[in-house]
């Protein structure tokens, strides 16, 4: 838990409120939630070393504070299966980015584990002016965007609250497996909710938090992206 507070304290001291993807993921990992590993590599050599450690396949993304739309800059390569593919992707990214953004400050590339597809889940947290921190659970994609099929509870939650939140959504049937798709690990999802709750409880400076998406598998749940905003 110290690590978490340190990251957040450093951010506060620096007067920043928005954590980068790598910072947010580090914080989530330290909160005990499984998340696709993402690390910064300053050069190709470092990128290859990280790949060796976290395993293939991987995603490479340009890391630059000046480039927000990474895909448009040709700065994202996915599904890289071995060192050879990583080397080629690295060269392609650098060539493309330097051509399109010659003045951009480039820190290197982020190397990210490629998660195998699972049932897409969203876990969110925000502050309600009346009730304080609230946690949200829902299925990703159209379920949250169009059907607003989500459930809420006040933080902190108990185990039974977490279980009820999951069972309460209309799309719960999808989590139990349908048309041969494997069922989602409900206990692992409940555990993610519990960990987000206790993490937010211990760090009241967090204003918003999103794990979007979280992939649910039959035996685990893994957050693929994280976003954290401080007060």
């Amino acid at each position: 838990m110290n690590m978490i507070s340190n990251v957040i304290n450093d951010m506060k001291t620096a007067g920043k409120t928005m954590l980068t993807e790598i910072e947010a993921k580090q914080v989530i990992k330290d909160a005990g939630i499984k998340i696709t590993e993402t690390r910064l590599a300053a050069n190709l050599k470092e990128a290859l070393a990280i790949c060796k450690e976290i395993g293939f396949p991987v995603v490479l993304k340009i890391a630059s504070p000046d480039i927000t739309h990474k895909s448009d800059a040709g700065g994202v390569k996915t599904g890289l299966k071995d060192a050879k593919e990583v080397k080629k992707a690295y060269d392609d990214i650098m060539t493309s980015v330097k051509a399109k953004f010659p003045d951009a400050k480039i820190e290197g590339v982020s190397v990210q584990q490629m998660a195998r597809p699972g049932v897409e889940i969203i876990v969110g947290m925000f502050k309600d002016p009346q009730f304080g921190p609230v946690i949200m659970f829902g299925l990703g994609g159209i379920f949250v965007e169009v059907l607003k099929d989500v459930s809420f509870r006040l933080i902190p939650i108990e185990k039974r609250d977490a279980e009820q939140m999951i069972k309460e959504i209309k799309g719960f049937a999808l989590l139990k497996g349908y048309r041969g798709q494997e069922p989602a690990d409900i206990a692992a999802l409940a555990d993610v909710l519990m960990k987000v709750s206790s993490f937010v409880e211990k760090n009241p400076d967090i204003k918003e938090l999103d794990l979007n998406p979280v992939f649910a598998y039959k035996d685990s749940a893994v957050a693929v992206d994280a976003r954290i905003v401080l007060e």
Binding site: D128, P129, Q130, F131, G132, V134, S151, F152, R153, L154, I157, R160, D161, Q164
Partner: protein, 486 residues
Amino acid sequence: MNNLRVSPENWQFLFSPKTVAVIGASNTPGSWGNNAVRALQMLSKERRVYPVNPNSPEIAGIKAYKNVKDIPEDVENAVIVVPEKFVPSVMRDCVAKGVKSAIIITSGFGEMGEEGRKLEKEIAEIARQGGIRFVGPNSMGHANTWAQLTTFGQFGEMPKGHVAVLAQSGSTCLKIVRSLNDSGIPLSNYVSTGNEASLTMEDYLEYLAGDPETKVIAAYIEGLRDGRRFYELAKKITPHKPIVVLKVGGTEESARAVKSHTGALAGADNVYTAAFKQSGVIRVEDDDELIDVVYALMNSPLPRNNRAGILSIGGGPGALAAEACEKEGLAIGTLQPETITKLDGLLSTRWPRRNPVDMAGPAASEMSVVMNLLSALIEDTNLDFILLIVPIIFDKDLLVKWVGIAPDKVQAYRESQEKSILQIRDKVEQFQKPVVMMWQWRGFSDPETTSLFRKGHFIVCGNARRAARVLKYLVWYRQYCVGAEA
């Protein structure tokens, strides 16, 4: 604003004052300042009432004072009904006098825009500095039946009971209070909380949690001042004292109406829903449901689970009841073989041998047979509660008009019915299974018969859908309590 918690003395002065000043008392019949004086005077001999009016030496036959400061003894509670522009100076006088508690009936404050909000802040600040906690402004009154205290300007003795009502609307408060009284449920305390500039919904809740006379708390809520505090309190209260809430503002226009009514911000309705669920608060959809659920909580045991047994006068009502139950997430229980054997001895050979049980034919017209059937279903361990749809023949008017029983014989018939019903009550208690009684008639039909069924601790409902919803709430609440214990 409300970090100050309220002391037991404050509550004592507010709900059981020995001395009350009515500031803005009036000789105009029907005015608030007149009704309040007379009702306060009439309902208790021990209470001393002091009308305050600068222009009249006497109000409703009682000596009046020009200023609250002139009253020759301590004033424990002040009822303020003067026009809004005079309220700040009246509040200053109350502070100077050492008044302990107050209620401001006057409206025209926060609900009326910026000017009113400023005025409301001003009086709240004067009161806070002077140590006065008050109800309102824009309240329709507060009452404590155990002290026979009411500032609603009602007359007549108030029946003493065990249900408290808190409402952020005076009219809704009175409708709920009247409806509960009509259903045979007397009240303990009820408060029209108004704009809550001093005492808030959360404060009253905290008080009622510790009030030994209050067994159930019902509330009408438009918006909370401190949702988190409400939640924390409710979580502690609901495992031993049920809270039933009717909360409005879940739709766009209703939220706007709420804002212009008490100036409360409705907030995100789905977060309210979550907070209520998580703290064991039963959230109902309308005032009828509120009454039904409070009635059930006061009269009936809680069902262990969600399996319904249906005993019906005919096939149609039974099917309707089954559908209503299933739509509310309740299950239709499977009868045990022993139950089927018992029913075989009581029903015609043509009965379908399944739930819902259709008691068509002569069985349904004989109260003692109906009670034997009901007994058999209550004993069935596959059923958690019973819906009973009885024939219209139990109605007094119909006994006279259709069956031709002489009016003087109706009494004897009733007495025999009562015996059967009291036997069922013992059964309901013994097996801890709610029984909901429904008429083949819109509404409650004959009040005499309805009250007879109530003696049996039956929940009496107008139709199957209402019955199913009450049961859904009870099942949910019991499961919440069991989970909270674990």
